[in-house]
Protein backbone atom coordinates (compact mmCIF):
# COMPACT_ATOMS: atom_id res chain seq x y z
CA UNK A 1 0.00 0.00 0.00
CA UNK A 2 1.49 3.31 -1.04
CA UNK A 3 -0.46 5.76 1.06
CA UNK A 4 -2.16 4.33 4.09
CA UNK A 5 -3.97 7.57 4.90
CA UNK A 6 -6.04 7.40 1.71
CA UNK A 7 -7.80 4.16 2.63
CA UNK A 8 -11.40 4.23 3.71
CA UNK A 9 -12.13 3.71 7.40
CA UNK A 10 -13.57 0.26 6.71
CA UNK A 11 -10.55 -0.76 4.62
CA UNK A 12 -8.17 0.55 7.29
CA UNK A 13 -10.00 -1.42 9.98
CA UNK A 14 -9.87 -4.58 7.87
CA UNK A 15 -6.18 -4.06 7.09
CA UNK A 16 -5.40 -3.88 10.81
CA UNK A 17 -7.65 -6.80 11.71
CA UNK A 18 -6.04 -8.99 9.04
CA UNK A 19 -2.54 -7.81 10.10
CA UNK A 20 -1.73 -6.43 6.64
CA UNK A 21 -0.79 -3.27 8.46
CA UNK A 22 -0.24 -2.52 12.13
CA UNK A 23 -2.13 0.14 13.99
CA UNK A 24 1.23 1.80 14.71
CA UNK A 25 2.01 2.03 10.98
CA UNK A 26 -1.44 3.42 10.29
CA UNK A 27 -1.24 5.90 13.15
CA UNK A 28 2.30 7.00 12.27
CA UNK A 29 1.11 7.72 8.72
CA UNK A 30 -1.80 9.81 10.03
CA UNK A 31 0.39 11.65 12.55
CA UNK A 32 2.97 12.45 9.88
CA UNK A 33 0.31 13.78 7.52
CA UNK A 34 -1.35 15.77 10.30
CA UNK A 35 1.96 17.36 11.32
CA UNK A 36 2.73 18.22 7.69
CA UNK A 37 -0.67 19.68 6.88
CA UNK A 38 -1.58 21.37 10.17
CA UNK A 39 0.08 24.66 9.13
CA UNK A 40 -2.02 24.65 5.94
CA UNK A 41 -5.36 23.40 7.27
CA UNK A 42 -5.30 24.29 10.99
CA UNK A 43 -7.75 21.51 11.70
CA UNK A 44 -6.38 20.39 15.08
CA UNK A 45 -6.70 22.38 18.28
CA UNK A 46 -4.72 19.68 20.07
CA UNK A 47 -2.81 16.94 18.28
CA UNK A 48 -1.66 14.12 20.56
CA UNK A 49 0.91 11.96 18.69
CA UNK A 50 2.28 10.32 21.83
CA UNK A 51 -1.15 9.37 23.14
CA UNK A 52 -2.29 8.12 19.74
CA UNK A 53 0.82 5.99 19.24
CA UNK A 54 0.50 4.54 22.74
CA UNK A 55 -3.10 3.55 21.96
CA UNK A 56 -1.95 2.10 18.62
CA UNK A 57 0.65 -0.04 20.38
CA UNK A 58 -2.02 -1.28 22.78
CA UNK A 59 -4.22 -2.15 19.81
CA UNK A 60 -1.39 -4.10 18.16
CA UNK A 61 -0.63 -5.91 21.41
CA UNK A 62 -4.29 -6.89 21.80
CA UNK A 63 -4.31 -8.27 18.27
CA UNK A 64 -1.11 -10.22 18.90
CA UNK A 65 -2.66 -11.76 22.01
CA UNK A 66 -5.69 -12.83 20.01
CA UNK A 67 -8.10 -10.66 22.00
CA UNK A 68 -11.56 -10.05 20.61
CA UNK A 69 -11.51 -6.78 18.67
CA UNK A 70 -14.07 -4.19 17.67
CA UNK A 71 -14.94 -2.85 14.24
CA UNK A 72 -12.65 0.17 14.54
CA UNK A 73 -9.71 -1.64 16.07
CA UNK A 74 -6.52 0.39 15.71
CA UNK A 75 -8.04 3.04 13.41
CA UNK A 76 -7.11 6.70 14.08
CA UNK A 77 -10.00 9.12 14.52
CA UNK A 78 -10.26 12.65 15.91
CA UNK A 79 -13.27 14.61 17.07
CA UNK A 80 -14.66 18.11 17.38
CA UNK A 81 -13.13 19.59 20.52
CA UNK A 82 -16.41 19.45 22.45
CA UNK A 83 -16.59 15.69 23.01
CA UNK A 84 -15.48 15.43 26.59
CA UNK A 85 -12.72 13.05 27.65
CA UNK A 86 -12.13 12.78 31.36
CA UNK A 87 -9.00 14.64 32.39
CA UNK A 88 -8.33 16.04 28.90
CA UNK A 89 -8.78 19.71 27.99
CA UNK A 90 -11.85 20.35 25.83
CA UNK A 91 -11.81 23.94 24.59
CA UNK A 92 -15.15 23.99 22.75
CA UNK A 93 -13.25 26.19 20.29
CA UNK A 94 -13.36 29.06 22.75
CA UNK A 95 -11.17 31.38 24.78
CA UNK A 96 -13.55 31.03 27.71
CA UNK A 97 -13.05 27.26 28.00
CA UNK A 98 -9.49 27.06 26.78
CA UNK A 99 -8.41 25.29 29.99
CA UNK A 100 -11.61 23.37 30.74
CA UNK A 101 -10.92 19.81 31.86
CA UNK A 102 -14.07 17.68 32.13
CA UNK A 103 -14.48 14.96 34.74
CA UNK A 104 -16.61 12.81 32.44
CA UNK A 105 -16.16 11.08 29.10
CA UNK A 106 -18.89 11.34 26.50
CA UNK A 107 -20.81 8.19 25.69
CA UNK A 108 -19.95 8.56 22.00
CA UNK A 109 -16.22 8.65 22.74
CA UNK A 110 -16.54 5.67 25.10
CA UNK A 111 -18.35 3.62 22.45
CA UNK A 112 -15.83 4.45 19.72
CA UNK A 113 -12.95 3.63 22.08
CA UNK A 114 -14.64 0.36 23.03
CA UNK A 115 -14.70 -0.48 19.32
CA UNK A 116 -10.93 0.02 19.28
CA UNK A 117 -10.56 3.50 17.77
CA UNK A 118 -7.31 5.40 18.33
CA UNK A 119 -7.78 9.03 19.43
CA UNK A 120 -5.59 11.52 17.54
CA UNK A 121 -6.71 14.75 19.24
CA UNK A 122 -9.25 17.57 19.49
CA UNK A 123 -10.39 19.23 16.26
CA UNK A 124 -10.97 22.86 15.45
CA UNK A 125 -14.56 24.09 15.43
CA UNK A 126 -16.56 27.28 15.37
CA UNK A 127 -16.48 28.84 18.82
CA UNK A 128 -19.06 27.06 21.00
CA UNK A 129 -20.42 25.40 17.82
CA UNK A 130 -21.87 28.71 16.62
CA UNK A 131 -20.99 29.49 13.00
CA UNK A 132 -21.90 27.77 9.72
CA UNK A 133 -18.72 28.77 7.86
CA UNK A 134 -16.16 27.43 10.35
CA UNK A 135 -14.43 30.67 11.32
CA UNK A 136 -12.72 30.83 14.67
CA UNK A 137 -11.34 34.11 16.03
CA UNK A 138 -9.46 32.41 18.90
CA UNK A 139 -7.85 29.33 17.38
CA UNK A 140 -7.57 30.56 13.81
CA UNK A 141 -9.77 29.74 10.85
CA UNK A 142 -9.80 26.14 9.73
CA UNK A 143 -9.17 25.70 6.01
CA UNK A 144 -10.73 23.65 3.25
CA UNK A 145 -8.54 20.79 1.96
CA UNK A 146 -9.82 21.30 -1.60
CA UNK A 147 -8.74 24.95 -1.54
CA UNK A 148 -7.36 26.46 1.67
CA UNK A 149 -8.64 29.92 0.72
CA UNK A 150 -12.19 28.63 1.10
CA UNK A 151 -14.30 27.85 4.15
CA UNK A 152 -14.62 24.37 5.59
CA UNK A 153 -18.20 24.90 6.67
CA UNK A 154 -19.07 24.82 10.33
CA UNK A 155 -19.41 24.41 13.01
CA UNK A 156 -17.57 21.06 12.80
CA UNK A 157 -14.83 22.68 10.71
CA UNK A 158 -11.90 20.55 11.84
CA UNK A 159 -13.94 17.38 11.41
CA UNK A 160 -14.57 18.26 7.77
CA UNK A 161 -11.05 19.45 7.06
CA UNK A 162 -9.21 16.57 8.76
CA UNK A 163 -11.27 13.78 7.18
CA UNK A 164 -11.39 15.48 3.78
CA UNK A 165 -7.64 16.09 3.95
CA UNK A 166 -6.99 12.39 4.75
CA UNK A 167 -5.46 13.18 8.16
CA UNK A 168 -7.82 10.80 9.99
CA UNK A 169 -10.32 8.17 8.81
CA UNK A 170 -13.41 9.63 10.44
CA UNK A 171 -14.51 12.28 12.89
CA UNK A 172 -17.45 13.17 15.05
CA UNK A 173 -19.17 16.50 14.66
CA UNK A 174 -22.29 17.98 16.17
CA UNK A 175 -25.29 19.42 14.33
CA UNK A 176 -27.72 22.00 15.72
CA UNK A 177 -28.61 23.62 12.38
CA UNK A 178 -26.32 21.95 9.87
CA UNK A 179 -22.97 21.72 11.64
CA UNK A 180 -22.21 18.16 10.49
CA UNK A 181 -23.76 18.43 7.03
CA UNK A 182 -22.25 21.80 6.08
CA UNK A 183 -18.59 20.82 6.64
CA UNK A 184 -19.33 17.47 5.00
CA UNK A 185 -20.69 19.37 1.99
CA UNK A 186 -17.80 21.84 1.85
CA UNK A 187 -15.10 19.18 2.25
CA UNK A 188 -16.53 16.49 -0.06
CA UNK A 189 -17.65 14.09 2.68
CA UNK A 190 -20.57 12.04 3.89
CA UNK A 191 -22.16 13.57 7.01
CA UNK A 192 -25.10 12.24 8.99
CA UNK A 193 -27.46 14.22 11.18
CA UNK A 194 -29.45 11.37 12.68
CA UNK A 195 -33.02 11.42 13.94
CA UNK A 196 -33.30 13.65 17.02
CA UNK A 197 -32.53 11.49 20.09
CA UNK A 198 -30.96 8.66 18.01
CA UNK A 199 -27.49 9.29 19.52
CA UNK A 200 -26.68 10.06 23.15
CA UNK A 201 -25.53 13.60 23.89
CA UNK A 202 -24.04 12.72 27.27
CA UNK A 203 -20.65 14.38 27.69
CA UNK A 204 -21.11 16.60 24.68
CA UNK A 205 -21.02 20.39 24.99
CA UNK A 206 -24.58 21.64 24.66
CA UNK A 207 -25.77 24.50 22.50
CA UNK A 208 -29.49 23.83 22.19
CA UNK A 209 -30.63 20.56 23.76
CA UNK A 210 -33.82 20.51 21.67
CA UNK A 211 -31.85 20.65 18.42
CA UNK A 212 -28.37 19.26 19.15
CA UNK A 213 -27.29 16.03 17.46
CA UNK A 214 -24.07 14.04 17.36
CA UNK A 215 -23.10 12.75 13.92
CA UNK A 216 -20.13 11.29 12.02
CA UNK A 217 -18.23 12.67 9.01
CA UNK A 218 -16.48 10.16 6.75
CA UNK A 219 -15.21 9.70 3.23
CA UNK A 220 -17.55 6.84 2.30
CA UNK A 221 -21.13 5.93 3.04
CA UNK A 222 -20.18 2.59 4.53
CA UNK A 223 -17.64 4.25 6.85
CA UNK A 224 -20.40 6.53 8.08
CA UNK A 225 -22.81 3.66 8.61
CA UNK A 226 -20.22 1.81 10.67
CA UNK A 227 -19.62 4.79 12.95
CA UNK A 228 -23.31 5.53 13.45
CA UNK A 229 -24.06 1.90 14.26
CA UNK A 230 -21.53 2.06 17.08
CA UNK A 231 -22.81 5.25 18.68
CA UNK A 232 -26.58 5.01 18.17
CA UNK A 233 -29.01 3.66 20.74
CA UNK A 234 -30.23 4.06 24.26
CA UNK A 235 -27.89 5.35 26.94
CA UNK A 236 -28.61 5.23 30.66
CA UNK A 237 -26.56 8.43 31.03
CA UNK A 238 -28.85 10.32 28.62
CA UNK A 239 -32.56 9.72 29.21
CA UNK A 240 -33.37 11.67 26.04
CA UNK A 241 -31.60 9.07 23.86
CA UNK A 242 -34.22 6.99 22.02
CA UNK A 243 -34.65 3.33 22.87
CA UNK A 244 -35.83 2.44 19.36
CA UNK A 245 -33.81 -0.51 17.96
CA UNK A 246 -30.69 0.34 15.96
CA UNK A 247 -30.88 -1.01 12.41
CA UNK A 248 -27.95 -2.70 10.70
CA UNK A 249 -26.80 0.41 8.87
CA UNK A 250 -23.71 -1.13 7.35
CA UNK A 251 -25.67 -4.01 5.85
CA UNK A 252 -27.82 -1.43 4.08
CA UNK A 253 -24.75 -0.16 2.23
CA UNK A 254 -23.71 -3.53 0.79
CA UNK A 255 -24.93 -4.27 -2.74
CA UNK A 256 -27.58 -1.58 -2.40
CA UNK A 257 -30.59 -1.94 -4.66
CA UNK A 258 -32.76 1.14 -5.08
CA UNK A 259 -35.04 -0.02 -7.87
CA UNK A 260 -38.44 1.46 -7.16
CA UNK A 261 -37.18 3.86 -4.49
CA UNK A 262 -39.33 6.99 -4.63
CA UNK A 263 -37.27 10.16 -4.36
CA UNK A 264 -39.11 13.39 -3.59
CA UNK A 265 -37.87 16.66 -5.10
CA UNK A 266 -39.34 19.85 -3.66
CA UNK A 267 -41.22 22.33 -5.83
CA UNK A 268 -40.74 25.13 -3.32
CA UNK A 269 -38.28 26.65 -0.84
CA UNK A 270 -35.12 24.52 -1.20
CA UNK A 271 -34.24 25.76 -4.69
CA UNK A 272 -35.38 29.35 -4.19
CA UNK A 273 -31.85 30.72 -3.88
CA UNK A 274 -29.90 27.92 -5.55
CA UNK A 275 -27.32 29.03 -8.09
CA UNK A 276 -27.31 27.61 -11.60
CA UNK A 277 -24.28 25.39 -11.06
CA UNK A 278 -25.75 23.94 -7.84
CA UNK A 279 -29.03 23.28 -9.67
CA UNK A 280 -27.09 21.52 -12.42
CA UNK A 281 -25.29 19.32 -9.89
CA UNK A 282 -28.61 18.40 -8.28
CA UNK A 283 -30.13 17.54 -11.64
CA UNK A 284 -27.13 15.38 -12.51
CA UNK A 285 -27.38 13.47 -9.24
CA UNK A 286 -31.08 12.85 -9.77
CA UNK A 287 -30.32 11.45 -13.22
CA UNK A 288 -27.92 8.99 -11.59
CA UNK A 289 -30.64 7.90 -9.18
CA UNK A 290 -33.08 7.48 -12.08
CA UNK A 291 -30.54 5.40 -13.98
CA UNK A 292 -30.37 3.12 -10.93
CA UNK A 293 -34.10 2.53 -11.02
CA UNK A 294 -35.38 5.22 -8.63
CA UNK A 295 -38.53 7.14 -9.36
CA UNK A 296 -38.57 10.95 -8.98
CA UNK A 297 -41.72 12.57 -7.59
CA UNK A 298 -42.36 16.28 -7.04
CA UNK A 299 -43.64 17.44 -3.65
CA UNK A 300 -44.52 20.71 -1.95
CA UNK A 301 -42.83 21.17 1.42
CA UNK A 302 -44.85 22.72 4.23
CA UNK A 303 -44.22 25.48 6.78
CA UNK A 304 -40.74 26.17 5.39
CA UNK A 305 -40.25 29.81 6.40
CA UNK A 306 -41.89 29.41 9.79
CA UNK A 307 -39.71 26.41 10.62
CA UNK A 308 -36.60 28.57 10.54
CA UNK A 309 -38.12 31.12 12.91
CA UNK A 310 -39.34 28.40 15.25
CA UNK A 311 -35.89 26.79 15.29
CA UNK A 312 -34.42 30.17 16.22
CA UNK A 313 -36.94 30.53 19.03
CA UNK A 314 -35.93 27.13 20.43
CA UNK A 315 -32.21 27.63 20.06
CA UNK A 316 -32.13 31.20 21.33
CA UNK A 317 -33.25 30.83 24.95
CA UNK A 318 -31.53 27.46 25.36
CA UNK A 319 -28.18 28.83 24.18
CA UNK A 320 -28.58 32.15 26.03
CA UNK A 321 -29.32 30.25 29.25
CA UNK A 322 -26.14 28.19 28.91
CA UNK A 323 -24.09 31.29 28.08
CA UNK A 324 -25.87 33.83 30.29
CA UNK A 325 -23.21 34.23 32.96
CA UNK A 326 -20.40 34.61 30.40
CA UNK A 327 -22.44 37.06 28.29
CA UNK A 328 -22.75 39.16 31.45
CA UNK A 329 -19.23 38.78 32.84
CA UNK A 330 -16.98 38.04 29.86
CA UNK A 331 -18.60 39.47 26.70
CA UNK A 332 -15.21 40.54 25.35
CA UNK A 333 -14.03 36.91 25.33
CA UNK A 334 -16.50 35.91 22.60
CA UNK A 335 -15.90 36.40 18.90
CA UNK A 336 -18.09 39.28 17.71
CA UNK A 337 -20.42 37.19 15.55
CA UNK A 338 -20.76 34.41 18.12
CA UNK A 339 -21.81 36.90 20.78
CA UNK A 340 -24.18 38.57 18.33
CA UNK A 341 -25.82 35.21 17.63
CA UNK A 342 -26.20 34.33 21.32
CA UNK A 343 -27.67 37.65 22.48
CA UNK A 344 -31.09 37.32 20.77
CA UNK A 345 -32.03 34.51 23.12
CA UNK A 346 -32.04 37.01 25.97
CA UNK A 347 -35.21 38.68 24.70
CA UNK A 348 -37.27 35.73 23.50
CA UNK A 349 -40.30 35.12 25.67
CA UNK A 350 -41.14 31.95 27.56
CA UNK A 351 -44.51 31.74 25.84
CA UNK A 352 -42.96 31.87 22.37
CA UNK A 353 -40.39 29.27 23.40
CA UNK A 354 -43.01 26.84 24.66
CA UNK A 355 -45.19 27.45 21.61
CA UNK A 356 -42.23 26.58 19.40
CA UNK A 357 -41.87 23.34 21.35
CA UNK A 358 -45.58 22.55 21.22
CA UNK A 359 -45.84 23.18 17.51
CA UNK A 360 -42.99 20.84 16.74
CA UNK A 361 -44.94 17.58 16.61
CA UNK A 362 -47.75 18.87 14.39
CA UNK A 363 -45.43 20.71 12.01
CA UNK A 364 -43.15 17.71 11.70
CA UNK A 365 -46.14 15.41 11.16
CA UNK A 366 -47.51 17.75 8.52
CA UNK A 367 -44.13 17.77 6.76
CA UNK A 368 -43.89 13.97 6.90
CA UNK A 369 -47.41 13.59 5.52
CA UNK A 370 -46.77 16.08 2.71
CA UNK A 371 -43.37 14.75 1.67
CA UNK A 372 -43.32 11.06 2.51
CA UNK A 373 -46.89 10.01 1.72
CA UNK A 374 -45.75 9.13 -1.80
CA UNK A 375 -41.98 9.12 -1.42
CA UNK A 376 -39.30 7.27 0.52
CA UNK A 377 -36.63 9.95 0.72
CA UNK A 378 -36.36 13.67 0.04
CA UNK A 379 -33.51 14.94 -2.16
CA UNK A 380 -32.40 18.57 -1.70
CA UNK A 381 -29.20 20.63 -1.90
CA UNK A 382 -27.08 20.83 1.24
CA UNK A 383 -25.69 24.26 0.36
CA UNK A 384 -27.49 26.19 -2.35
CA UNK A 385 -24.45 28.18 -3.50
CA UNK A 386 -20.83 27.38 -4.41
CA UNK A 387 -18.60 27.06 -1.34
CA UNK A 388 -17.49 30.64 -0.55
CA UNK A 389 -14.04 31.91 0.38
CA UNK A 390 -12.92 32.63 3.94
CA UNK A 391 -12.37 36.28 3.10
CA UNK A 392 -15.87 36.94 1.75
CA UNK A 393 -17.57 35.32 4.72
CA UNK A 394 -15.40 36.60 7.59
CA UNK A 395 -17.74 39.52 8.27
CA UNK A 396 -17.78 39.41 12.11
CA UNK A 397 -20.95 41.17 13.36
CA UNK A 398 -21.27 43.61 10.46
CA UNK A 399 -24.73 44.48 9.25
CA UNK A 400 -25.09 41.76 6.63
CA UNK A 401 -24.12 38.78 8.75
CA UNK A 402 -27.62 37.44 9.57
CA UNK A 403 -28.46 37.16 5.87
CA UNK A 404 -25.14 35.46 5.17
CA UNK A 405 -25.76 32.90 7.94
CA UNK A 406 -29.28 32.32 6.63
CA UNK A 407 -28.03 31.75 3.09
CA UNK A 408 -25.66 29.02 4.28
CA UNK A 409 -28.09 27.20 6.59
CA UNK A 410 -31.45 27.51 4.85
CA UNK A 411 -31.37 23.94 3.50
CA UNK A 412 -30.04 22.25 6.63
CA UNK A 413 -31.68 24.00 9.58
CA UNK A 414 -35.27 22.81 9.00
CA UNK A 415 -34.34 19.19 9.73
CA UNK A 416 -33.14 19.97 13.24
CA UNK A 417 -36.52 21.45 14.12
CA UNK A 418 -38.35 18.64 12.30
CA UNK A 419 -36.18 16.05 14.09
CA UNK A 420 -35.72 14.05 10.89
CA UNK A 421 -32.55 12.27 9.75
CA UNK A 422 -30.61 13.92 6.96
CA UNK A 423 -27.49 12.66 5.20
CA UNK A 424 -25.14 14.95 3.25
CA UNK A 425 -23.66 13.19 0.21
CA UNK A 426 -20.93 14.47 -2.17
CA UNK A 427 -22.32 15.37 -5.61
CA UNK A 428 -19.33 16.44 -7.65
CA UNK A 429 -17.74 19.87 -7.99
CA UNK A 430 -19.11 23.28 -8.89
CA UNK A 431 -17.44 25.69 -11.29
CA UNK A 432 -15.06 27.01 -8.60
CA UNK A 433 -13.62 23.52 -8.08
CA UNK A 434 -15.11 23.06 -4.61
CA UNK A 435 -17.38 20.15 -3.68
CA UNK A 436 -21.14 20.17 -4.13
CA UNK A 437 -23.51 18.11 -1.98
CA UNK A 438 -27.07 16.94 -1.73
CA UNK A 439 -29.02 15.81 1.31
CA UNK A 440 -31.21 12.76 1.58
CA UNK A 441 -33.79 13.18 4.34
CA UNK A 442 -36.31 10.64 5.54
CA UNK A 443 -38.90 9.62 8.08
CA UNK A 444 -37.84 9.31 11.74
CA UNK A 445 -35.33 6.48 12.31
CA UNK A 446 -34.98 5.75 8.58
CA UNK A 447 -31.18 6.14 8.59
CA UNK A 448 -30.67 2.70 7.02
CA UNK A 449 -32.73 3.71 4.00
CA UNK A 450 -30.74 6.92 3.57
CA UNK A 451 -27.50 4.95 3.70
CA UNK A 452 -28.80 2.46 1.16
CA UNK A 453 -29.75 5.18 -1.31
CA UNK A 454 -26.46 7.04 -0.78
CA UNK A 455 -24.43 3.85 -1.16
CA UNK A 456 -26.12 3.07 -4.48
CA UNK A 457 -25.27 6.56 -5.73
CA UNK A 458 -21.70 6.27 -4.43
CA UNK A 459 -21.19 2.96 -6.20
CA UNK A 460 -22.31 4.59 -9.44
CA UNK A 461 -20.23 7.77 -9.28
CA UNK A 462 -17.34 6.66 -7.01
CA UNK A 463 -17.00 10.08 -5.37
CA UNK A 464 -14.69 8.80 -2.64
CA UNK A 465 -12.02 8.05 -5.27
CA UNK A 466 -11.42 11.81 -5.56
CA UNK A 467 -8.91 13.26 -3.09
CA UNK A 468 -7.67 16.82 -2.68
CA UNK A 469 -4.17 17.55 -3.90
CA UNK A 470 -2.34 18.45 -0.67
CA UNK A 471 1.35 18.22 0.02
Amino acid sequence: MTDLTHMSLVDAAEAVASKQVSSRELTEACVARAETLQPTLNCFISLDPEGALAEADQADAALARGDAIGTLHGVPLAHKDMYYRKGKVSTCGSEIRKDFTPDITSTVITRLADAGAVHMGGLNMSEFAVGPFGHNDHWGHCRNPWNPEHVTGGSSSGSGSSVGGRLVFGAMGSDTGGSVRLPAACCGLVGMKPTQTRVSRFGLMGLSFSLDNAGPLTRTVRDNARMLALIAGADPMDPTAASAPVDDYEAATKNPDIKGLRIAVPKNYYYDSATSDVRAMMTDSLKVFESLGAEIVEVAVTDHDEINTLATVLRGPEAATLHGAWLRDRPQDYGAQVRARLEPGLVMTGVHYVKALQLRAQISKRFIDAVFANADVLHIPTVSMPIPSIEETDVKDSQGFPALVESMTRCTRPFNYLGLPSLAVPAGFTDNGLPASFQLAGRPFSEARLYRAAAAYEAAVKFSDHAPNLT
Binding site: T195, L327, R328, L346, H352, Q358, L359, D397, G419
Partner: protein, 69 residues
Protein backbone atom coordinates in the same frame (compact mmCIF):
# COMPACT_ATOMS: atom_id res chain seq x y z
CA UNK B 1 -41.56 55.43 12.25
CA UNK B 2 -39.75 54.25 15.37
CA UNK B 3 -41.66 51.81 17.53
CA UNK B 4 -42.37 53.75 20.77
CA UNK B 5 -42.52 50.53 22.79
CA UNK B 6 -39.76 48.33 21.34
CA UNK B 7 -36.75 50.35 20.29
CA UNK B 8 -33.00 50.35 20.73
CA UNK B 9 -33.07 51.95 24.18
CA UNK B 10 -35.99 49.95 25.53
CA UNK B 11 -34.44 46.66 24.50
CA UNK B 12 -31.09 47.69 26.01
CA UNK B 13 -32.87 48.58 29.26
CA UNK B 14 -34.80 45.31 29.25
CA UNK B 15 -31.75 43.12 28.71
CA UNK B 16 -29.74 45.01 31.30
CA UNK B 17 -32.57 44.69 33.84
CA UNK B 18 -33.33 41.04 33.12
CA UNK B 19 -29.86 39.64 32.49
CA UNK B 20 -27.34 42.34 33.49
CA UNK B 21 -25.97 42.17 29.94
CA UNK B 22 -24.96 45.49 28.42
CA UNK B 23 -25.85 45.42 24.72
CA UNK B 24 -24.12 47.53 22.08
CA UNK B 25 -26.37 49.75 19.94
CA UNK B 26 -26.06 47.58 16.83
CA UNK B 27 -26.92 44.45 18.79
CA UNK B 28 -29.99 46.17 20.25
CA UNK B 29 -31.15 47.16 16.77
CA UNK B 30 -30.88 43.56 15.59
CA UNK B 31 -32.86 42.36 18.59
CA UNK B 32 -35.64 44.87 17.93
CA UNK B 33 -35.96 43.53 14.40
CA UNK B 34 -35.95 39.96 15.67
CA UNK B 35 -38.59 40.58 18.34
CA UNK B 36 -40.85 42.12 15.73
CA UNK B 37 -40.29 39.17 13.36
CA UNK B 38 -41.17 36.72 16.10
CA UNK B 39 -44.29 38.65 17.04
CA UNK B 40 -45.36 38.60 13.41
CA UNK B 41 -44.75 34.85 13.09
CA UNK B 42 -46.53 33.83 16.25
CA UNK B 43 -49.41 36.29 15.94
CA UNK B 44 -50.22 35.16 12.42
CA UNK B 45 -49.07 31.57 12.40
CA UNK B 46 -49.71 30.12 15.83
CA UNK B 47 -53.13 31.36 16.84
CA UNK B 48 -54.38 27.94 17.87
CA UNK B 49 -54.98 26.83 21.46
CA UNK B 50 -52.05 25.00 23.03
CA UNK B 51 -54.05 23.87 26.06
CA UNK B 52 -53.97 20.16 25.28
CA UNK B 53 -50.35 19.80 24.21
CA UNK B 54 -47.07 19.19 25.97
CA UNK B 55 -43.53 19.00 24.57
CA UNK B 56 -43.04 15.23 24.85
CA UNK B 57 -45.65 14.79 22.14
CA UNK B 58 -42.76 15.39 19.74
CA UNK B 59 -40.79 12.32 20.88
CA UNK B 60 -43.96 10.20 20.69
CA UNK B 61 -44.66 11.47 17.19
CA UNK B 62 -41.16 10.51 16.01
CA UNK B 63 -41.62 6.94 17.25
CA UNK B 64 -45.18 6.70 15.88
CA UNK B 65 -44.13 7.95 12.46
CA UNK B 66 -41.26 5.47 12.29
CA UNK B 67 -43.86 2.72 12.76
CA UNK B 68 -45.92 4.17 9.89
CA UNK B 69 -43.03 3.67 7.49
Amino acid sequence: MADPFMNQQSIKDLVLRWHEVDLEDGAADRLVALVNLHAETFNEYAKQSFFDTEPSNFDRMLEEESRND
